[in-house]
């Protein structure tokens, strides 16, 4: 059961981390397009890598959760995931 929790939380954290990073870069002003294509810097790769690192960290932390606490958390997780993913996906449509 801890494995299921770790997988689910990791997926949710990946999505949230990706969306927050994109919104952050949009708010703080990403490198201008003309400069981006002139360099090897590809924000998409960095974003995915950092989100994967966050997801991995979340999965490791989930392994520390007490076995008795796993099922109650799993029961609440679908609603949380729906909100997190729904909001993140809408944000990504709003801020390409």
């Amino acid at each position: 059961m801890r494995g299921a929790l770790a997988s689910a939380v990791a997926a949710g954290v990946f999505v949230l981390s990706y969306a927050v990073q994109r919104l952050w870069s949009a708010a703080s002003g990403e490198v201008p397009y003309e400069q981006v294509i002139a360099t090897e810097h590809i924000p998409f790769f960095w974003r995915c890598s950092l989100a994967a690192a966050h997801a991995l960290l979340a999965a490791v932390l989930c392994r520390l959760v007490r076995e008795s606490a796993v099922e109650p958390v799993l029961r609440k997780l679908p609603a949380v995931l729906a909100v997190v993913v729904g909001a993140s996906a809408l944000a990504m449509v709003w801020v390409p």
């Binding site: 059961m1 997988s7 990791a10 990946f14 390409p96």
Partner: protein, 148 residues
Amino acid sequence: MSGTLFALLERVHGHLALLGLAVLLHPVITLRTRRGLSWRMQLSADLGALLLLVPFALGAWIYPTYRRDVKPSLWVEHHDAALLFETKEHLAAMAVALAVGGALALRSGGKQPAARQVAWTLLLLGWLCGAGAGVIGLQVAAAAHPGF
């Protein structure tokens, strides 16, 4: 990367992703309509996640070429399509993470109803994000097409 190889990989990328979405629909439906977890559900969830992961990796491989050779003209001639492409990339990354997470959650705790519910939620959300990316991908491909 040559233009021919790029076009080939871009088409394989799109077709594999479509196949992945079709396969992923099986666990999304059967996890809702049947009790318990069969090996077929697990297999289709694993296969669906893999068939989204592989085209994502292919897309990542051709992405630098796209940025260098396709994006500049797309940006100038079809600005909306270039922005839509970015949205497609965001949704695709999310879809892959959710599908892989769903398949792993099903494999780890598929015998427990709570874990199955979480896995179903992840697979459904992954499928929705993937379908959104697919529809946008079609729009972008239509705009990026050289035409006649």
